[in-house]
C-alpha cells in the first residue's frame, strides 16, 4: 500500500505527462487553446474556406462565347439572377418552401400536442419512437416510397378505384397549375413529398414549446369562462408559436436547398437546388451556380433574424 502511494507521489512530481498536466492546470487559457485548435482549424479551413471560395466565385462571370470563366470582379452574375427565367426559379422555390412549412405545421401540431399533453407512460415511448423513426429513416427510401405510391399503377390509384373515386383524382389532375399527367409528375406530388420528408423536423420543437406551457394557465383560462377553442386560440397557440417558428426554420431551409425531390417527383420546372446542380455540372457555369447558392443563404439569414426576434431560439 505504502509502495503504491509512493509511486503515485513519484509520478506526480516527475515525468513528462505530469509536468504537462501541471502546466495545463495552471494555465487554463492554454488548455482552452489546445482544446479548440483542432475543431476550429478543421471547420475554419475546410468549411469557412469553402464558403469563402464559393462567395468569391459568385463575383466572377462566364464568357458566354468561349465558356471560360472570367476572373474579374463583377456583379453581372448576380444581375443574371433577376432575368425572368431565373427569378421564376427563386420565386417557385420560396413559394414551395412556404407552402411546405404551413402544411407541416398543420399536420405536426396535433401530433406534438398529443405527445406533449396526453401521452403517458408506455404511450410516451410509442410517440417518441413514432416521431424519431421517420425522422431518421433514409431520405432516399422515403422518396422512393412515394414514387411507389404516386405511380399511375400504384397503390393510390388502386385505392381510389376501389372506392370508385378515381374521377376525383382525374378532375384534380386536369387543373392547370397543380395537375399533370399523373401525381408523380405534378407539382402536387413534389409538394406532398416535401411535406412528408421535412414534416418530422417540425414536431419536436412544437412539442418542446407545448411542454413548457404550465397546465395552470389552461385551467385559469377555462375557469374564466373560455371555451376550449378560445383557450387554444388565445392562450395555447400564442405560447406555442416560438416552437412552430423554430420548426419552420428546418422545413423552410431544407426545402429551399433540396434538389433531389423535385428531380425525382414533379415537373421539369427547376428549383434553386437543381439550378445550382445543373449550372455547376453540365453547363460548367460555376459563377452562376455560386450566385444561386448564395440566394438560400441570404433568405435564411433574414429568416433566422426574424425567428430570433420572435424568440424561436429559446424553443430549440
Amino acid at each position: 500500500m505504502a509502495q503504491t502511494d509512493a509511486s503515485l507521489v513519484h509520478s506526480r512530481s516527475e515525468g513528462l505527462g505530469a509536468r504537462l498536466s501541471d502546466t495545463l492546470w495552471r494555465r487554463p487559457s492554454l488548455l482552452l487553446f489546445l482544446l479548440l485548435l483542432p475543431p476550429v482549424l478543421w471547420l475554419g479551413i475546410i468549411y469557412l474556406g469553402s464558403l469563402f471560395a464559393l462567395l468569391l466565385q459568385s463575383f466572377f462571370s462566364i464568357d458566354h462565347f468561349t465558356g471560360l470563366i472570367n476572373y474579374e470582379f463583377t456583379l453581372r452574375t448576380y444581375a443574371e439572377l433577376f432575368t425572368p427565367a431565373n427569378f421564376d426559379i427563386i420565386l417557385r422555390t420560396v413559394l414551395m418552401a412556404a407552402c411546405t412549412t404551413v402544411a407541416s405545421a398543420i399536420i405536426a401540431f396535433p401530433i406534438a400536442f398529443y405527445a406533449a399533453r396526453y401521452a403517458k407512460g408506455r404511450w410516451r415511448a410509442v410517440f417518441y419512437l413514432g416521431i424519431m423513426m421517420p425522422l431518421w429513416s433514409s431520405y432516399l427510401v422515403k422518396i422512393y416510397a412515394w414514387k411507389l405510391i404516386l405511380a399511375k399503377e400504384g397503390i393510390l390509384t388502386w385505392a381510389l378505384e376501389g372506392l370508385h373515386l378515381n374521377w376525383l383524382l382525374d378532375a384534380y389532375l386536369s387543373l392547370p397549375v397543380v395537375g399533370g399527367n399523373s401525381l408523380s409528375v405534378s407539382v402536387t406530388g413534389t409538394f406532398i413529398v416535401f411535406v412528408y420528408v421535412w414534416m418530422p423536423f417540425m414536431i419536436l420543437p412544437i412539442q418542446a414549446a407545448l411542454e413548457r406551457v404550465p397546465t395552470s394557465m389552461l385551467e385559469a383560462s377555462g375557469d374564466l369562462g373560455a371555451r376550449p377553442g378560445q383557450t387554444f386560440r388565445h392562450v395555447l397557440f400564442p405560447l406555442a408559436l416560438p416552437g412552430v417558428v423554430a420548426g419552420s426554420i428546418f422545413t423552410f431551409s431544407l426545402t429551399l436547398g433540396d434538389y433531389i425531390i423535385p428531380q425525382i417527383i414533379g415537373t421539369s420546372r427547376l428549383f434553386i437546388g437543381q439550378a445550382v446542380y445543373q449550372h455547376q455540372g453540365i453547363a460548367g457555369n460555376i459563377p452562376l451556380a455560386a450566385a444561386f447558392a448564395v440566394v438560400p443563404i441570404v433568405i435564411m439569414g433574414f429568416y433566422l433574424w426574424g425567428a430570433k426576434r420572435m424568440g424561436a431560439f429559446d424553443a430549440l
Binding site: I107, P110, Y144, I149
Partner: protein, 268 residues
C-alpha cells in the same frame, strides 16, 4: 381543457399524422417481396424471396455498401474527436467568441446541403484536389461534428465541475482525471453521438453528390437507380434493408439515453 382525456378530434388528427408518417415506409416492405419486375403495380401479383438472392450476388451493391460503411466509420471517428474537444471547451469555460464557435459548429447543418456541397466542390477545384474517398469523408465529418457536439455538450452541462476538482485534489493529474473521471461520465453521450453521426453519414446524399467522383456510396447507388432504374426489384430489396439498418442506431440511442432529461436524436 380541464380533463386529462384528449378530445376525439385531437386523437384522430394525431393518429392520422402518425399513420401518414409510417405507412409509406411499411409499403417498402411489401414491395421487397413482389414478383412484378417492370412496374410499381399494386397489389403485387405474387410474392417471392428470389430478389433477396439476386441482390446478395450483386457486386455493385456490396461495393457501395462497403464504401458507405468505410466513409461513415472514418467520418464518425473524426467527428467524435473534434466534437468532444469543442464541447469540452465550450461547456467548461466562458471566453470571448464562444457564441461564434457554437455557430461555426452548427453552420454546416443549418445551411442547405446544396450550399455545403457546392462550397466544398468549388474549394476542391480551386485547390486542385482530385475526388476520392477522402473528399467524401472531409464533407461528411464536417457536418457530423454538430451531432456529437450537441450530445456531448448536454452531458458536460450535467457533469459537475467539482468532480474534476476533487479528482485533482486527490492527486490525479489531468490525464488520469480524463481517463478515470471525465471519460466514464461522458461515455454514453459519446456512444450515442457516434451512432447518430454514423447514421447521418450513412444516409447522406446531397453533399456526397458534390464531393464524390466516380465512386458510389449506397445512397448514391440508390439515387442512380431512382433516376435511371435498371432492376427495380433489387432497389426494393436494398430499400428495405436500408430501413432496417437505419433503425438500429436510433433504437440504440433511445435505449441508452432513456430516462435522462435529454433524450438523444432530437437534432438531426
Amino acid at each position: 381543457m380541464h380533463s386529462d382525456r384528449a378530445p376525439l378530434s385531437l386523437k384522430i388528427a394525431a393518429a392520422a399524422g402518425l399513420l401518414f408518417l409510417h405507412l409509406p415506409i411499411l409499403l417498402i416492405f411489401a414491395y421487397a417481396f413482389t414478383t412484378e419486375e417492370k412496374s410499381f403495380a399494386w397489389p403485387p401479383p405474387g410474392l417471392t424471396l428470389k430478389w433477396f438472392a439476386v441482390t446478395w450476388y450483386r457486386p455493385d451493391v456490396w461495393e457501395a455498401l462497403s464504401l458507405s460503411v468505410k466513409v461513415a466509420s472514418i467520418s464518425t471517428v473524426i467527428a467524435m474527436f473534434l466534437g468532444t474537444l469543442c464541447a469540452a471547451a465550450v461547456s467548461r469555460t466562458r471566453f470571448f467568441g464562444r457564441e461564434t464557435i457554437s455557430l461555426l459548429v452548427i453552420l454546416p447543418i443549418a445551411l442547405p446541403g446544396v450550399v455545403t456541397g457546392i462550397a466544398l466542390r468549388s474549394a476542391f477545384s480551386i485547390a486542385d484536389i482530385p475526388f476520392s474517398t477522402w473528399t467524401i469523408i472531409l464533407g461528411h465529418a464536417t457536418f457530423c461534428v454538430v451531432i456529437v457536439y450537441n450530445n456531448a455538450v448536454a452531458r458536460f452541462r450535467r457533469t459537475s465541475g467539482s468532480l474534476i476538482e476533487a479528482s485533482m485534489d486527490l492527486g490525479a493529474n489531468m490525464f488520469q482525471t480524463l481517463r478515470h473521471v471525465i471519460l466514464p461520465n461522458i461515455a454514453t453521450a459519446l456512444v450515442v453521438g457516434g451512432m447518430l453521426a454514423f447514421a447521418l453519414s450513412f444516409d447522406e446524399v446531397i453533399v456526397t453528390t458534390f464531393t464524390a467522383g466516380q465512386q458510389q456510396t449506397l445512397p448514391i447507388w440508390m439515387l442512380e437507380e431512382l433516376v435511371r432504374p435498371r432492376e427495380r426489384p433489387v432497389t426494393n430489396v436494398v430499400a428495405m434493408v436500408v430501413v432496417l439498418v437505419t433503425m438500429l442506431p436510433i433504437l440504440g440511442a433511445y435505449y441508452l439515453t432513456r430516462g435522462t432529461d435529454q433524450v438523444a436524436g432530437q437534432g438531426k
